[in-house]
Symmetry: C2
Subunit: 340 residues, 2 copies
Amino acid sequence: MKRKVKNIQELAEQLHLSPTTVSRVLNGKAETYRISESTSKRVTAAAKRFQYYPNRIARGLKLEKTETIGLIIPDIGNPYFGSIAKTIELAARASGFSIILCDSLDDETTEEEAINLLTGRKADGIIVAPAGNRSGLLVDIYRRGIPVIVIDRYLAGTNLPFVATDNYAGAYRAVEYLIGMGHRNIACIQGKNDISSNSDRVRGYCDALQKHQIEVNPDFITGNDFGEENGFIQTHKLLGQSNKITAILALSNLISLGVLRALKQAGLAVPSDISIVSFDEQAYSAFLACPMTTVEQPCEEIGKSAMESMLKMLRNGNNNSAENYVLPPKLIIRDSVKKQ
Amino acid sequence: MKRKVKNIQELAEQLHLSPTTVSRVLNGKAETYRISESTSKRVTAAAKRFQYYPNRIARGLKLEKTETIGLIIPDIGNPYFGSIAKTIELAARASGFSIILCDSLDDETTEEEAINLLTGRKADGIIVAPAGNRSGLLVDIYRRGIPVIVIDRYLAGTNLPFVATDNYAGAYRAVEYLIGMGHRNIACIQGKNDISSNSDRVRGYCDALQKHQIEVNPDFITGNDFGEENGFIQTHKLLGQSNKITAILALSNLISLGVLRALKQAGLAVPSDISIVSFDEQAYSAFLACPMTTVEQPCEEIGKSAMESMLKMLRNGNNNSAENYVLPPKLIIRDSVKKQ
DNA sequence: AAGAATTGCACAAACGTTTGTGCAATTCTT
DNA sequence: AAGAATTGCACAAACGTTTGTGCAATTCTT
């Protein structure tokens, strides 16, 4: 194995050529700049032989683009976001882009830091599942011409392009299903209240109830976090109420795990004592103590569409080339809802 | 809100100072270079007011370090790796580093591409859960002084520092437990065969059997992938054998999900028909049809230790400052093993 | 065969930082 | 009060690319 060459200069010396010529050949501009075919071949061969990999940092500085996309995710440990991140990463790399990953902990301050970090690192674009609805910084960046795609949610009052599930429809269908199975006292355990996907789901929940002449009981809508602990706490709270519920709509995969933990602790079984429908289909959903009825979100589609939009914006340079995607969810019916 | 300044030059002009001085102040070298206190304060105030964020690309080029760490993961959609990635990302950012995420699909060629990409992007270090045991490229990079930390596995025959679970002990304890519960025909569904964590687990499995005078039946050791599908296929294969098994040791969380799917299809129940112990504790493990006995790996510890090692190596510059970590697993006993 | 056109490459500047060094202006020393 | 020491900053080069432009050498044209 030949010794590696550390920059274009060294490679040029080996070839008795100028860095200019080497650069042009390796960037496919040999013809444009009339580099002879024989020189071209020598260069490409030597680049391989001496294992020359261009310094992307220097390149980024000169070209003012880094071929890097910032990805801000509320919780990369959550397989829902993990799957989205996976499709995004693979699609990005296939197009020559790398992903700088930032976990925002679903916290707005952390997210803001991440955004500033990414602009400092000159990310060509940012894909973000925002932690809240403080959209100022993102809109700012977008206005300055940096592509921004919002995923999993959208930011109301902005025109930032987004890719999300039709959360309203997902919740609506889930609740209609519960009503169809005879339930009337249906609780809804929410995630973060200020997030569009959450509020759309709550709207879907309310509208479905009202459509069927069931009054919305505000005590039945509770919670403020997408995590497991919140599902656990809110379930206990709901069980303690005088108004008895017969079913729970859990607005995330983690929330429903918390629900299960609380029910187990309370000695209640699914679905004989309490019925459940949960957002987010998971690999394990079918194998739970009671196979769970879920609202599946199309993770791969979200990732793919987001990356497509991003690439389109990066290519077209302008910001108005991206469209929004509202992807249909799917109700997967299993055994976690009892016929009343 | 004042208009933003786009580089240090513009900020310097606003202040009627040279970029040199501004740079020195913002990098905390005001004293070293005798910048007056009043100037210092003006600079920091203006930097904030004009929202100056240094171009990290230019900085990276000049300093020959990017404050960037490459993270290569076989499957970021798997919550096991997701959790590890999360702790690594958070720890990295807390120390001023960003993570470039690469999903290798547990494929060696993809991994090699990712490694070359990361060196081209001048990552300061690489944390990798290798897809195989072709260690050449990594060793090469390590020799050139770039810190490399192997996680979840190790690369035999190299001295690349690693952080992994004590997989041998984990499997050994799991099998001893199964034997203690009266099982003798215990199958083992493997992940990728050439990966240390897998082979260590298989060794642990074999040694535990032999320790208890149970002959190792090669037909009982099967499979070649950490994914769900492999668990499914191998289970069917095992069930079709004439030599009947009473228990399965599944070497990953995804494998055990495949096992469950196959058993369900075959109309068999856990643990009455078949007992299971699975690697990788998950949030749902306790809520499965039969609460699963698992071997828990310390994800957070792995991530934290890896990042600590990495930072140590980055600080000390030399490669021999990192130690290996072999972290203890934990057997979590639930109901998925029947007393024979 | 001489001028024009083409071929094939190299020079030098630039991207935005950081940093060794140098040099006025100020302050100190006696 | 004059020389020495200190203070406070700026100049210029460098990191490794890319690219507009220019200029020899070669080939073509008539």
